[in-house]
Symmetry: C2
Subunit: 999 residues, 2 copies
Amino acid sequence: MRTRFSLQLLALIVTLVQCKSNCGYQSCHPIKDGYINVHLIPHSHDDVGWVKTVDQFYYGTNNFDYRASVQTIYDNVLKAVQKNKQRRFIYVESAFFWKWWQEQNESERNQLQQLVNSGQIEFAGGGWSMNDEAVVNYQSVIDQMSWGLKKLNDSFGDCGRPKAGWQIDPFGHSNEMASIFAGLGYDGVILGRIDYEDKSIRLENRSMEMVWRGSRSLGRQTDIFTTTLYNHYDAPAGFCFDILCEDSNLVDDPYSPEYNIDVKAEEFISEHIKDSIKSFQTNNVIVPMGRDFAYQEAETWFRNIDKLIKYINNHETFEGKKYNLLYSTPSCYIAAVQKQSKGILTSPLKLDDFFPYATDPHAYWTGYYTSRPTLKRYERLGNNFLQVCKQLFALAHLPSEFEPRLDSLREAMGVMQHHDAITGTEKETVAYDYARLLHIGINDCENVTSEALSYFTNIEANDFNTCLLTNISQCALTETHDKFVVTVYNPLSRLVSKYVRLPVNGNSFSITGPDGNNVHSQILPTPIGIMNIPSGRQTSASLELIFEAQDIPPLGFKSFYVQKKNGDDVTREDLSLDFSYFNGKGVGFTIDPSTGLVDSLEMNNVLLELEQKFWFYNGSDSFMDFSSKPSGAYVFRPDTLSPIKKVSDTAAFEVYRGDLVTEVRQTFSEYVSQTVRIYANEKFVEFDWVIGPIKTEMNWPSNGKEVISRFTTSLNSESTFYTDSNGRELMKRQRNQRPSWNVTVLENESSNYYPVTSKILIRDEEANLEFAVLTDRAEGGSSLADGEIELMLLRSCVTDDQFGVNEALMEVAYDLPIVARGSHYVTLGNIESEPTIASIENEIATQKLLDSWIFLSVPTETTFADYEKAHPMQFSGLKKSLPQNVHIMTLEPWTKSSYLLRLEHVFEIEQDSTLSEPVTVDLKQDLFTSFELKSIRETTLGANQWLKDNKRLNFKSAFQSDEEDLSKTKRSNALNNEFSVELKPMEIRTFIVEVVSKL
Amino acid sequence: MRTRFSLQLLALIVTLVQCKSNCGYQSCHPIKDGYINVHLIPHSHDDVGWVKTVDQFYYGTNNFDYRASVQTIYDNVLKAVQKNKQRRFIYVESAFFWKWWQEQNESERNQLQQLVNSGQIEFAGGGWSMNDEAVVNYQSVIDQMSWGLKKLNDSFGDCGRPKAGWQIDPFGHSNEMASIFAGLGYDGVILGRIDYEDKSIRLENRSMEMVWRGSRSLGRQTDIFTTTLYNHYDAPAGFCFDILCEDSNLVDDPYSPEYNIDVKAEEFISEHIKDSIKSFQTNNVIVPMGRDFAYQEAETWFRNIDKLIKYINNHETFEGKKYNLLYSTPSCYIAAVQKQSKGILTSPLKLDDFFPYATDPHAYWTGYYTSRPTLKRYERLGNNFLQVCKQLFALAHLPSEFEPRLDSLREAMGVMQHHDAITGTEKETVAYDYARLLHIGINDCENVTSEALSYFTNIEANDFNTCLLTNISQCALTETHDKFVVTVYNPLSRLVSKYVRLPVNGNSFSITGPDGNNVHSQILPTPIGIMNIPSGRQTSASLELIFEAQDIPPLGFKSFYVQKKNGDDVTREDLSLDFSYFNGKGVGFTIDPSTGLVDSLEMNNVLLELEQKFWFYNGSDSFMDFSSKPSGAYVFRPDTLSPIKKVSDTAAFEVYRGDLVTEVRQTFSEYVSQTVRIYANEKFVEFDWVIGPIKTEMNWPSNGKEVISRFTTSLNSESTFYTDSNGRELMKRQRNQRPSWNVTVLENESSNYYPVTSKILIRDEEANLEFAVLTDRAEGGSSLADGEIELMLLRSCVTDDQFGVNEALMEVAYDLPIVARGSHYVTLGNIESEPTIASIENEIATQKLLDSWIFLSVPTETTFADYEKAHPMQFSGLKKSLPQNVHIMTLEPWTKSSYLLRLEHVFEIEQDSTLSEPVTVDLKQDLFTSFELKSIRETTLGANQWLKDNKRLNFKSAFQSDEEDLSKTKRSNALNNEFSVELKPMEIRTFIVEVVSKL
């Protein structure tokens, strides 16, 4: 007995020792005063898809294309890091971590837990992927960060929480991302790529490190320490020890003829460290020891780094200077800088963003703002549906067995945010795989939404359908049934109306709403452009049924009973000589009959003359010398001699007038058509463009074609335009200028392109006019002349741009060049007005981002009356609409008994005299119909730490005024079981709420 | 107290558990009846130098040339094998193992010890390198095997002892090697490369496995089970999971689009296993899972193999057959075959060897028998000196502090035996590195010999010099001193005489032997050919001093005091019209004055007309199609249209007659010269050839030049000739025939080439004549017509032969094509005679292999008398000479208090009526002067196991007669403290002897 007890006790002691956590800053190797401290950061940059698919990279298949296997990296790093307690490593992409973790047994998991607890392995970044920053929407970034952090939190607790951003590969950096990192409670962020000219100046001015302010509205609480790697994220040349490099290993056996440690150590210091230290704020320099898919040979890397550290640290000085090499991590580096600088940086506070990104005077990475526009749109649909799915899951209080199906879309969307996914900078087969993943995620989540709707409507879950191909006017259910039910779910926190448009095979339909009243409808022929689609469209439908689903409740739905009937309500072509088109609310446009082009717009009591037509840039195909960079997936670069051509000066057109919708359908060329459209109750003119197929045979071997839509007005925009930052705050852009330095412009077009995630606008301050174009996905855009706005829609390049994809961006679907369709929502108004034009744009943007989602079902009942008796036809998740400036950004199941809830103020400061004010929401009183909040605790933005526990390292610029109104820019105090939430402009607050179902 | 005791007890238990060894056959995974048992053998084939140097491969430098690091393999295998107890791995090359082992700390060593103890890691082969079998001498092979095995034994004890040979890459296999493996006590040997035609027949006849008899003389005790890999030693195509391959990893996640385990498992069985099983003896098939430098990514390999095993073993049948995949090792495979076959194989007993090796009808790997002839010679010198060094170490009873310097040469020689070292099939820079290693080894061992000689001679150790460049007539000491002492050490076990030849700068010398008598000398101009050497020769000497050091004692030395004197003893050119040249003992030759060629030889009372001249093969440079293989480092292939050309039909010549030596110096061309030489007391005519520089500019871009010496006689040799097997038994060769199958000959020359390690001969049975050429290194040789013998001397190829070296064999020294010099010792006699011609050849061969070694020193005394008083001038290590048929093959320090002693019978059966009889040596009585034997224990050939403990698995061929005289072929009983050793013909017996110094 006695022996047995002793053994058990021993086992317990062993367990306790193993589980003692020592992570955090106390686990950092100490820095030394009087030394140059060289922070070596072992890391592996593992793209979540790029030239291979996610699974190909993970499992290491298709190695002929690229010799990489991420599971191998994780396997080998685990063993290698254990071998020596000094060693450190950072894990970055949680998508890969999680895939690997799922496959490990207890033993490997315990080993990793120990390494995480001891700080030997640190998570940096920690999102599901290392997201892009140009073409992503903030909601999806926050979602993907939160999902990655949740997995780390669930697996490792506190020690698994990242403390630093690690955005080393994205091609430019956004203010919104800085703001998000600050919101996540991170102490800093490491960047890898900034504009070559910006960088050279920063190197010169010792300003590679700075305090960067994410949000103009939120001020200091969005400040984040930012450092830029001296030389990209690869290990210094000659110090890459992996299967993808050929550098010699370090040899310190003095008897070997291969002995090289002396020469290599000299080289390391003199070529890579000595000069770089001058550009940084303290005697600390950060040196990434890795590269793409590094550490497949983990032990080899570490063995070499061990030797380098040992040799250099045992060597008194190099050229009179003392060096202390240490294994480090991004957070340990940041803490070291903070310690040595006492948090005061001598570089200016940065307020602008890092767009556009150029690697040389002729290579502006502005092509990817548009590359693969259909994938970019599909991703936005994915976000739209993910929010719908999360909300319905929570509202219906579904059991946890449905979570894997929700996770499927969460994870697909996490992958989509990756900087080689949504960006379009991947191989074509990989783009297909992303679409496949998203498709599976949406399919899986349809199980969730069906189940939830089934609960609320009493329709069999299996009976629900969504029709994602309505963009090519294809939907088997509506085309083949004489009766169907349209259930429209509204994910916004206020009432909205939605024009439903579905392909049908009948000339007349009766539609009955939840109140039993008939709903007016209109039938139109399918738009011209869609017909271009070669064989993708598999339908016989040539008509579309349109009706307005009015006043859908917040987080709720309405059902509409649709029945084919005799008659002919088809809207025929209008052959009248009246070329002006207005709805009853003063929104409209005119066409110049001689050209077929729009020649004016009118809305909000403003009339503006305007021309809109299509052009294409001749993408350069030259890559023979340094100054001749080709256009490709990353880079947009027009041909030097003949940069741009018109598609056509005129358009043939057809007109369909109706009381719900009026459409002018223009045909510009074989591959460009457009529908200009106004709805009875919408506050914009819609330009519904269809581009493609761009037949590359036609122009091969000459240049590529990169098609733009350009709006030309007489506004005196004074070289200035505005684009949004990831769907949130507006960034001021000035042609041929950068806020932080005097830019050298050798590329007139591409250097002035910026990412337009949701909006681009120009202003004529004198005329008090604002003209804005809202998009349905990210596009590259600019204003290359005063009064102009242009947006790039579809790119077909003839060569690769030599940045790694190794494939020309020439999208193909069904064996022909792809066809893309999308919408520009154009608004116009006085800058100063009531309501402000900004608030109108905001409303449209929010509604387009989180559009009402259409579910279809076929009723088994033969009459509306029977149907109505059996099936509830409307539901509201909220007791009442929230104010226009606040929004339930996130509602989703989080733990067994809790939901994640995020509230968001959707206005910036100074956008609107009322709406830009702080707003208070009483969660207890106002909110949910299907559950009750039992408790609420505020967390950081990523929901992986109680907000009150989050203490960020303090940094400020020496140039920063001390008189800032701190009350305005200070983070709100963390809420704890207070249900009244105040939101300042642009603020997002995150809560974990314990709920009890009321269903 | 109590607790502390418990913990200590626990620690002890843990230690015991860790140290429990479970290696050997009981650790093999079980095979299953009714299944096809697929033995997967994870292995890494790590060349000890090839396209990179040994250290480059080990450390992983010069990765641009070849991406390999052996330390990485060892690091990663250790971790990966630990991860799963099922996994197995074999270590092969002890040179690499030892280098790695030296760098490990206790923790890694313990981990490996545990894996070795559990049988998870097995050593196969186990020699210092995987030695070549064609061009190596048996002594060096035994040495290098023993040295490797000693390191394993010292590190791991019994569990570190290999049980199987693993000769998977050498380019053909010798009977001597089979004999050695049997002597080492191995249970079998695995081969990777056998002739393509032989293999196809064996595949057809189910005879890939066989019992192979190493020695005709020793019979059944040299039988060894031999298996040939189905498809080389690489993992099956598509199943290589490493940094040097691009195969996809196996994916068994059914949700991944990359899922491939089903298809890959089918492919594995149907393409690689299903058919192969038909060619093997039992339901066991051996599948190597590795390749060159595999397991740099060890975990990846194992992970994939784990999955393959799991999937296939869980799959009931494939095409109706059941498969059992298992991790295995060579020894486990052999044991499985033995178990299932009960040791009786249905294939015939193999008696011949596996030379030559061809990979296709036009690619005979017979070039490497000659490639890099100077390196091949240097290696033989290395062996000669290593034996001298070991003996002197033991005789002088040097303290252990000198061992590292002996080890240096032991290890260099171990490396040299590697199948890409001595073979010449390495890159030029690697060949230089081998020479460097050997140079260092020899230098280090000179410290040992100097120390030993210092003890015996009372000369300061520092004062000893060796002059290795006397082959180019260069020796600073003898050229620049008027007085010097020549100490000649004899490593043989009998008295020998040695003609000493040294470059000098004087016309007359007096030489005084140990007995005070004057020794006759002769002075000759430096031979012509040596003068060809462009800038390598750095000396002004143009004369050579020759004298005979007579009757050097066995394992002993004599010193000669040499002093320059006035006079002129230089032998001048002989311009007489007598063209016959004889010594006083009837050994001589004649020259045809009209051609300058030798036209007859005479010795042993036989006169033979003969022509000897030089030819060169036009090495093919074609590699455009399958049937057009080029000549290169491995392959010898003459041009199809014009295979061979004469260098010249005539030779200019000079004659130098003398009473010690007579020389005819022939010049055939700019790059071919030769000295034909007879010594007063030697029983052969020496043909001292000098070839080079072969100026490749002259023939580029046409064919290469591969120079041969051809002897043409009228002997009716009936298509038959004989070559030695690694310097021991003679192998009968028949032109255009193979003993085991009907060969298809499409390459008349190269398919008839065989390795000549030391001897080639032809016989005219009717005329009772034997004509033999002995070499001073390995050369390729043949008899392409009756009465002819040819030997290939130097090769210059214009292209690579596409087998991996990736460099044309075009040796350069001092910026010009290399010059090679060497000797053929030609004998002639009646087959039946007394003494037999065989015994004469034997005597010459032994003396040339273990030549007396010349040490030089400069006396500080001014007269011989003074010198003689201060310094003993002779010493014998043996009390008396051993009989002519027995030889102390090895005498070397082994453990702290013991020596390793090997005795060898140097005659085959039926070679000589007396000398081919068994012989008995009484070690106690006869032997050593400087130490006494206290005990003696017999071991296996490798000295890593007591012979009595060695039980080999029993195999025999079903065709094997049961009536074999077992008494003749049975291994002798192990000796244990019996000092009288009987040796049968060709027998080698190995002992560890405890000794006490008598010094």
